[in-house]
Symmetry: C2
């Protein structure tokens, strides 16, 4: 590995001149510049980015904390972050936390040790340990998808989850469904509560409600969606429709219903949330709420960039638009 010193020797100039020739060629005489370039070529010199970063005090890395990369919704968000980061000269340090608090804290600490210049948290927890909390205030931090409940507030990029769930509720009601069941996520998640509130808004406005029995808890995995639907199937009657708080649980639920020969959408409507790519290809194709995952990622990265560079942040709470996607897993209720 050749260093700037070797190049300077080869070219017969000082290291400062090499540095200038590469960074600000206009400050260097043409002839000198050519000597330097030739020396660079000969030696195969590549500036050591580690040294550059060290001396600038910036790593040009950003940690992205994600509960599970294998979740297609999150991986789309990450793609968005990554695209925006690359155009800005930043790289992504992937922090797949698997929901584990220790891993989360370990990654978050990178923000304190200059291994990363900022953090994007896609989960609902404030990722710093108690020990780090005080220092964490200095670390550029953005929250996306979820919303951390804490005293301190951070820029958030999210969806109008309540509005989206309300829209889905209104649509299902419009289909003639009155008995709607919901498969939720972890109840301490703000977005889960928002989506539940949204659905309740819609039902309430129609003079209906959600009984405790019809609220089944999942954990956003297909397996849990499957289990949730089985639970609903064991109840006295089948609901008219199931609203699942993400597409994967909806897909799990559809499999459970199909296993019991319940027809979708004839016997029951099923709707999801997120609009992952698979949802367009399920059988039947899944009605859902589209989240602009890549855009969420890009916006989160943009906000983080502003923070990292002490630039003004137009709005610290960004709400991106949802879209109701009607496919074949829901239909007008057939009154029997």
């Amino acid at each position: 590995m050749s260093t700037i010193r070797m190049v300077s020797k080869l070219a017969g100039v000082s290291t400062a001149t090499v540095s200038r020739a590469l960074k600000n060629p206009e400050l260097v005489a043409t002839e000198t510049r050519q000597k330097v370039m030739e020396a660079v070529r000969q030696s195969g010199y590549r500036p050591n980015q580690l040294a550059k970063n060290f001396s600038s005090g910036r790593s040009y890395n950003v940690v992205v904390l994600v509960p599970n990369v294998a979740n297609p919704f999150f991986s789309r968000v990450i793609r968005g972050i990554e695209q925006e980061a690359q155009t800005k000269g930043y790289a992504i340090l992937l922090g797949d936390t698997q929901g584990c608090i220790e891993r989360e804290q370990e990654y978050a600490r990178m923000g304190l040790t200059s291994q990363a210049d900022g953090l994007i948290q896609l989960d609902r927890r404030f990722p710093f340990s108690d020990d780090d909390k005080a220092l964490a205030a200095a670390v550029p931090f953005v929250n996306a998808c979820e919303r951390i409940s804490s005293d301190a507030t951070y820029p958030v990029v999210e969806l109008d989850n309540r509005g989206a769930a309300r829209a889905m509720g209104q649509y299902l009601l419009h289909c003639g469904h009155k008995d709607i069941a919901v498969i939720t996520g972890p109840p301490d998640s703000p977005i889960v509560r928002d989506r539940l509130s949204g659905m309740q808004d819609a039902l309430l406005a129609a003079g209906l409600g959600l009984t405790a029995e019809r609220i089944v808890q999942g954990d956003f995995s297909m397996r849990s969606g499957f289990a949730a639907a089985e639970q609903l199937l064991q109840q006295n009657s089948l609901p008219d429709a199931i609203f699942s708080m993400n597409d994967e649980m909806a897909i799990g639920a559809m499999a459970a219903l199909k296993a019991q020969d319940v027809r979708i959408p004839d016997d029951i409507s099923v709707a999801g949330f997120d609009n992952i790519e698979f949802s367009a290809y399920t059988n039947p194709a899944l009605t859902t709420i589209d989240q602009p995952a890549e855009a969420i990622g890009r916006q989160a990265m943009r906000a983080l960039y502003q923070l990292m560079h002490q630039l003004p942040l137009p709005q610290s709470h960004l709400v991106l638009p949802y879209e109701l996607i009607i496919r074949d897993s829901t239909q007008q209720k057939v009154h029997s």
Copy 2:
């Protein structure tokens, strides 16, 4: 941000002592150690990892090049890499290349500039630009999932793709299918060729073959699987079975078949490859080849670790076991 110097002043010792008290406490007198620890506590000192890395000449970062993080198979491989990396003290720099050669080269260059200590390539291309090629020999590099065809050889972690496809072929033949169609990936991909060869092995052994018409090219996306199936539907007759080279294309194909009211598996069997989680939840559930994605990732990271630390590599070509997973999308042919 407090530095080691501030701590040393606070504690009334030298920076070296602070460094020692933190790294090798046993080399420091108890009393001194306590003074240092107190100073650390008071100042909220966190060692600057950037400086540490710079001075050690190692970044403790590893670049993972992946064509598409949003592909669930790759994201599982990445999870495996990430798990293994974390236990070894390395972090993952995510290089989502989107199949774009420039992005690939940009990320690969990080290996030359000490931003990363090694690379794992999940795609089939040698990622360094021509300019960088000569220097690249010094960068620890591991190839997983795919196999780069080049003069130089690198550790590879992969599946017995040919054997797996052969097993699938034998199974489909065993079902009584004689007219088998294949949805491939990019034809210049070695694993695509392996899988094609494997299928041909099986057919040949049964005195059968694959006509050009029955080989339809996709690009591993659901959309392309959908299009491929449509293409097959336009041919004079329907094949007995479709073998898709990944699950996503199989899922796309199933959607296309269903749209034409072709029944699976009654009218046609469909099989995939990878065993992504969704495959267990499709309707009908997809027969496929299981690839141990996480294990592939872990092994790739382990090999890279050996390389980065100049440790011996037991075998530079690791072939991990596949498993035929028979579900409901394939069945014994009903002779009509």
